[in-house]
Each structure stands twice: as structure tokens, then as C-alpha cells.
Symmetry: C2
Subunit: 496 residues, 2 copies
């Protein structure tokens, strides 16, 4: 089916401006962001000479080994990232999955034409102490408009790591309050905690998973288990680490094996609860991504998550779902865990990236009883809430989640077809919405493919040791998917 759509697009030279030959089920007849080019354009090696000159300046200032190119954010538009050498890349990576509506969406530019809004951008308050006029209403119009099921409370933070750090703290505070009952802190607790001593501090733990990524600050890093480069040399703690399922693909051919994998991983979680609880390192919560992203785009079944929630509840532990990368609509639901049909609302859901602001949604029992327990100077930023308000309005109005579903079908079916036709390069195709990935046979082959894709005008990214991850924006449409698949096939042919 995707081939039909792809062919129809190819026949109009992938032009967003002449989409009359679209297949019937593709509802969006032009780009959501006007002014996009008709396709990528690669003029130089990437990074090109101007990028390299800027890079040499940047290297004088700081480590810059991860820099791929210098972008021209004035010219970048919609799904297209322009670089300073005049190259135009179709961007399916979107700043590590953090651009919801593509570049320079005209209605976001308009937000900053409003004089009142401009004042919000330059007068950054200490939000927890001196919030601005109508701030609660702004939060209602943005974050709470897309709150996960069962959630009416939200805390804002400046970035993804801080979102998880503070959500972890909220879990520990909640857990100890359950233990204390109605009693207040003892004087001994108050004195000892300041000097990092029990009983004021706790020996509680959080259970995380192999291959998980929750951030690089000290608390989140305890629960991150992707690459040595994040972890080497940094002091940490002994918290339980479970196994996130590793499925065999295609899923429909390995139903029994993958169910067995779920059972094995869940039994291990139960065993870890027992072991750590008995050792006095009580497990206060379970922290998990709905799709392990940085770790290599590993999926787990709804049944796995349902049972995990039951195990956490049975043990009196919180379940935190980290939607920093998966949240915001690109899985075809606003929150990826909406796919899981869970028994109960998730205790805590963290967000950042495409939400423009960080933070977490939490059930009412996770609200601390005292001010300043979850606090910092900025607590996020109202200017981001204003932008998010507009983003959410556009997502609803333009039915962008529906667009993700339609486009995701094109993308995933296209990748599956390549999986059959280029089995030596494209393996284990998987995805929800446009949040898709596939594996290569080795890290070297994966890195080579990502480079080759750039030569073909595609900005993509790796995930884990061998995966290519696709993280297009919400305005990535079937005709963009078509261009991507076309370019990917060109790259694959050069790999074979």
C-alpha cells in the first residue's frame, strides 16, 4: 500500500505544491508549514567549509566533538534544516526529537509579534514565588489541555533531566510520607538529613532497566544504562536494574517468544523487588520509558506495561513513565503510554523536548505537603508555556496526531518493505506513528548508513549500538515520508 502512495508522490516529483495525485487515504494535500522546498539539496560535503570554519572557532571554546553541522535557523523551514553551506536536509531527527512543528512555523513567529508576549520572554520570573498574571490559565491552556489520562496536576522544569530528577524526589517524599503516616519529621530526621545521614535521608531506591536513558545528571544517571560514555568515572548508587524486553521481529512471527520474554523480564522485576526490599534498599518506584529511545528504540508490549503497573502497585511502589522523548504526539497518541490500555492512570509522567518545557504530571498523592520540597529558582519558564499553548492549539486544529498516524503507516510500511528487499542492511523494523526505527548489522554499518543518508539529503540519527531512529516532527506528512523513503533507498543501494 505504501508503495502506491510513494509512487503517486514520485510521479509528482515529491512536490508539496502539486499534491493532486495523492492516494485517497492521505488527507493533507499540502504542507502544514508553507514555504518548504520541494526536496533536499546537497551542495557540499557535510559539514561543509563554512560549518568547518565555525567548528574550528567553537573548538577553541568548548568540546565540540558531537557537532555535525552549523545550521541556518533563519532559512530552515518546516521539515527542512538548512545549513550554513547552503545544504538543505529533510530532517527526520529534529534536534534529537525536540521540534514539534518544524522550523519557523509562521504562527510561532507570530507569538513574538505580540508586545505582551515579548515581555514574558525577557522578564523571567522565579515561577514558584512570583508567577505572572494569568499563569495558571496559561498552564491550563497548554500543559493541562494535553494531560495524560487521570491527571490534573503538573509541575514545570527547565529540561528533561531536571524533570526526572524532581519526579524522583517526589516519589521518595511520597513513599516516606506513606511510611510515616500522619507523623511529622522527628528532630533527629531534620538534623541528620542536612549532614547526609540516616534517618533524615533515605536508603530508598528506584528500579530502572538495562538500556534505559533518563538523563545525565547524578540522580537520573543512576537509572541510565545505555553507553559507557555517559557513565564512566561518575559516582553512582546500587539501585535495582531490570531487563527491558528484547523482542524478535517481525512481531507477528515471534508471538510466543516475545510473550516468554515479557514473562522473563517481569519475573526478574518481582525478584528485584524482593531482593532490594529485603536488603533494606526498599524500591519506592519503577522508572521506565514507553519505548527505550536513546538505548536503541526497544519496544515492549501493552501487556508488559500493564503487568509492570500491577507489580509496582502490589509492592506499594510508584510507576514513573518517562515520556521525555516519546511524548508530544509522534507515536500516534499524544502520550505513548496511551497505547498500553493500562488499568490505572500512571503515577508520574515526565516530559520535555517537543513539549518545549520540562516537568511532570503527577497524581494528587504525589504533591508534597510543604512548599520548597520541589523547587528551584526558575521552575521552567512562562515563555515556553506561551509557545506550547500555540503548539497545542495547532496540533488540535490541524489534526496533527491523525497526520502522524497516516504518515507513520507510510513510513513503517516503507521500512518493512526495505526490510524484505535489503535484509542485509534493514532489520527489525519497528515503530509507533512516525516514531520508527530499524537495526543495522553493526554499529559501523549503522554509522555508515546515517552518513550516506546525509549525502542523500536526509538528517537522521542513531540510537543504541545499531539502530537508526526516525524522529520527524508532527508536520511530517506522507509526501515527506515518500521523499525520505526514496532517499533511503538510494542510500541502501550504495550500502549493498
Amino acid at each position: 500500500m505504501w508503495r502506491k502512495i510513494l509512487n503517486s508522490f514520485n510521479s509528482v516529483k515529491c512536490s508539496a505544491h502539486n499534491p493532486s495525485l495523492l492516494a485517497n487515504n492521505v488527507k493533507y494535500l499540502s504542507s502544514f508549514v508553507s514555504g518548504e522546498p520541494t526536496g533536499p539539496l546537497v551542495k557540499t560535503a557535510i559539514p561543509g567549509p563554512r560549518s568547518l570554519a565555525m567548528l574550528s572557532e567553537m573548538k577553541k571554546i568548548q568540546i565540540s566533538d558531537a557537532v555535525q553541522l552549523f545550521a541556518d535557523y533563519s532559512k530552515s523551514i518546516g521539515n527542512y534544516l538548512y545549513d550554513v553551506d547552503g545544504n538543505i536536509l529533510l530532517d527526520v531527527y529534529t534536534q534529537i526529537s525536540s521540534i514539534p512543528l518544524g522550523y519557523n512555523h509562521p504562527e510561532l513567529l507570530d507569538v513574538l509579534q505580540d508586545k505582551e508576549n515579548i515581555r514574558t520572554f525577557i522578564n523571567r520570573p522565579a515561577l514558584g514565588v512570583f508567577p505572572g498574571e494569568n499563569y495558571p490559565q496559561r498552564v491550563q491552556n497548554s500543559l493541562l489541555r494535553i494531560a495524560p489520562k487521570g491527571h490534573t496536576e503538573v509541575t514545570t522544569m527547565a529540561c528533561g533531566s531536571c524533570s526526572n530528577e524532581n519526579a524522583y524526589k517526589a516519589i521518595f517524599v511520597w513513599y516516606r510520607r506513606k511510611q510515616r503516616g500522619d507523623k511529622s519529621y522527628t528532630p533527629e530526621e531534620e538534623t541528620s538529613c542536612v549532614m547526609n545521614q540516616l534517618p533524615g535521608v533515605s536508603d530508598l531506591t528506584l528500579l530502572s532497566f538495562k538500556g534505559a536513558f533518563h538523563g545525565r545528571t547524578f540522580g537520573t544517571l543512576i537509572t541510565t544504562h545505555t553507553k559507557p560514555v555517559h557513565k564512566l568515572d561518575i559516582p553512582t548508587k546500587d539501585w535495582p536494574i531490570g531487563t527491558f524486553p528484547r523482542y524478535k521481529y517481525p512481531l507477528e512471527e515471534f508471538v510466543r517468544e516475545n510473550e516468554e520474554e515479557d514473562r522473563r523480564c517481569l519475573a526478574e522485576v518481582e525478584e528485584l523487588f524482593d531482593r532490594y526490599n529485603k536488603r533494606g534498599k526498599t524500591v519506592a518506584g519503577v522508572v521506565i520509558e514507553p519505548i527505550q529511545s536513546e538505548g536503541g528504540d526497544h519496544h515492549a508490549s501493552p501487556a508488559f506495561f500493564q503487568e509492570l503497573q500491577r507489580i509496582a502497585k502490589k509492592n506499594g511502589a510508584a510507576l514513573l513513565i518517562d515520556e521525555v522523548q516519546t511524548g508530544g504526539g509522534t507515536t500516534g497518541e499524544f502520550w505513548c503510554h496511551d497505547h498500553f490500555n493500562l488499568d490505572h492512570p500512571v503515577d508520574i509522567v515526565t516530559y520535555s523536548k517537543k513539549m518545549l518545557i520540562g516537568g511532570y504530571f503527577s497524581l494528587p498523592e504525589f504533591r508534597p505537603r510543604e512548599g520548597y520540597r520541589i523547587f528551584n529558582t526558575w521552575m521552567g519558564e512562562p515563555s515556553k508555556v506561551i509557545l506550547l499553548e500555540k503548539v497545542v492549539e495547532i496540533i488540535k486544529r490541524d489534526k496533527l496526531i491523525e497526520n502522524v498516524r497516516v504518515t507513520g503507516d507510510v513510513l513503517l510500511n516503507g521500512l518493512k518493505d526495505f526490510g524484505k528487499r535489503y535484509p542485509n542492511v534493514v532489520k527489525n523494523v519497528r515503530g509507533r506513528g512516525t516514531f520508527c526505527a530499524f537495526d543495522c548489522v553493526s554499529m559501523a554499518k549503522r554509522d555508515q548508513l546515517v552518513e550516506q543518508l546525509k549525502v542523500e539529503g536526509i538528517q537522521s540519527g542513531g540510537a543504541g549500538p545499531v539502530a537508526v531512529r526516525l524522529r520527524p516532527s508532527l508536520v511530517f506528512q506522507p509526501h515527506h515520508a515518500s521523499i525520505f523513503l526514496d532517499r533511503l533507498e538510494k542510500a541502501l543501494k550504495k550500502m549493498d
Copy 2:
């Protein structure tokens, strides 16, 4: 002397618009930000009815126990914070010390009139991977233009906690590289670290001080020792905690006692190095504020810091000076440690708040050898760099550090005079530049004074158990200090 200035101001009704009677040494004859009112105006109890209505909305969404009022950031101007009930407060707290040039500085508003700049505000890149055109130049024009002595490298982060978290990581990475010499990581290190095990992770520690505040995320919280509310229930680590000097005031009357206090604290630092190093919890660095701010505005002498740096060097440990609150000019030097006449540049200096963006300056040996060791999605934000570029330009052009020195003299002398005349309320007056504080006899009295100041139209804040801290912006001038002292005296009279 300050009385003379104060009287001259009182005689012109504290008007910034008729400053002709200013004392000779007050060089600035009008406000740096035009459009300021002539003084505070209090119409309602604070929080007033509109603030209370918004607060009740906010309480539905999140914990709001620290909220003092809802501000009108459209009307707020210069040193004056307007609230939604029409109250006008002279702000000597500035959003927990995070507003460099007061509210709505016209030249900061102009930054957002520029169409190119607007695009920087809505296209937030993953700075470590896809920086924008001329970003290195922007960093040169802003952060590196005011780099601490001996520093040419800078890393950007989104907030103060992340600045310290990542600076701590840079210290651990640096220390272990020294230990390894030219050897690379062993396969065992690479495998073990991902599972939170030695030898890949480390048992290194950082030495912090009682009363220190470096943040509330897990790593920084290990080194924060202010209030139980920050620390209770949160798992932590056993790292060495020294004693920050507690001086007797006035300093000139207790020279011998305070020198003895320095010696005692430094001897304890040496002892902690020995004890932790022997236990295999090697101290990789010392983390300290140049003035303990959140902990209660505790100062230490230049001699203390000089010797502390020598002790760190002798032990092969890094010295990190946390200038998140003290940096940016309000101590009368751009960096507070500029007052200390240290033997060597400081290894790492962290910043945030009035710098608008977080991050750290570090000497070249603290640069990791591999990309992604110090990394996150956003790595700060270019829009903040653009604003900071303008802020730095204005600080230099308007000689705002000089203004801080002149105004600080007025403020500190005024407070010292109150210390003599209201000795039951104003104790231990201290400060550098306008970064001033004094103690009350108890927390209850301090809280009462901060409330009474609000009734008089002054927004101030507490620090530690008994201190009132003053954190005016860089555009706080002698005539503002005069108004503040006048209102403070009114409040003091009601306290006696």
C-alpha cells in the same frame, strides 16, 4: 555619610527625576531604566485579592505554598515589581537574584524587535550537535567577554543545578583521567559502569561545606546543607562536609577571632581530605560558594579562599567556585572571587541566574576528551546568549559594576547605621557591593521584618535561619538605596 545622601534624597521625595541634590560621590543622576515610578506604592494587603484568586487557581494545579504574589510583568519596570493588585514594590530580591538589569529594560525589549533574533527564540537547537550560524561568535561576545581571570573555555547549561551537576562530572572525569594517565578505559570499566559497578564508576567524592547551597538535583543535593526541607527523604552519599567560617561582626572588632575561625575551618578541610582519601573515598574536588547565599549570607575572608585553593592543589583536587548567585556583578566585581586575590585561576566557575543562562567556565585540562561526556539535548539556549550579549554590552557601557560599588557603599553604610541604632533587630551587617545582608535575632523576627518591609513597599527575601538578604539588580542606584533605607527604617520602628 550615607545619612547625608539619604537626607538629600528625602528632601526631593526620593524622585529619580529630580536628583539634583545628590551627594558628590553619586555619579548617576537619573535611573538607568526610564519610566520608573518615584517610589513604591502599596494599595492592598500582599497578596491582594487578585493575587489570591489566581493563587487559588494555581493550587488546583500544583503546590503553590511558596507563592508570594502574582506579578504584572507588563507594568513592572526597572527596580519596581508591579503586582496584579496595583501594588508597586521596590524589588531588592529580583526573582531570587536573577534579574540583571531590572524589569523591561527597553534595550532587551528591542532585542525581540529584530526578526532574526525572533527566529532564534523559536528554533531551539540541540546546541551540542546543530548549533546555529555564528554561535561561537555570540558566545565570545557574551560569556567569554566576562570570563573569570584565566578562563577561555565555557560550557552552557539550562539552569544552576545542571551547571553544578555537569561541573561535578567534569571534575570526576578529569580526576580519573589523571589517575589513568595515557591509558584508555578497560573493557571491564566500560561494561561495569553501565551497571553502576566499580571499576567503571568511581567512589570519588567532593568536599562541600555546612550551610552550602549548590542545587536540589541529586548530585548537587549531596553538597547542599542548608535546610531540612531540601534534603529530607532523598537518598544521598557520604561525601566530606567541612565547616564554612562563621565570623563575628563587626569584622574590625573581631580580627583575631575570625582569623582563628579561618584556621579552624581550614584545618578541618585538611583533616577531611586525609580521612576520606584513606577510606578510599578520594576527594576529587572542593565545591564552595564565595558567599554562602541561600544558607544565610555567610562570608569568608580572601585569606581563607587563598589557603583553601592551596590545600586543594596540594591534594590534587579541583576547586569549584559556585557563582550561581554571586556572579554577574552585584558584589562589585563581575565575579565575587575577584575579591579574593587568589594565587591561580579557579579550576571551575559555575554560573546561572543573572547570567540568564547556566553553565561553567573551566580551565582547559577539564575539557573531556570524548564528545557526549558532558552533554544533553539543549545544552542551554542560544536565545539566552543573545540576551546576555546585550546585558553585557549595557553593563560595560553604563559602568554598572561601578554603580554597584557606589550604591553598595550607600546601602552597607546605611545598614551599619541601623545596626547601631536598632541593635535588637539589625545584627551582623555585612556585604560586598549591593550583595548585602543582616541578621535578626530569630527566624520569627526575620520573617516578621520581611513581611513588614512588604507593607512598606519593599520586596526583600530571607536567607538561612535569621538573615535578610538584599539582591537588587545592577540598575539599583543610590536613590533606590535611599528609598530602601527610608522604608526599612519605617519597618524597623514598627518592630521595636
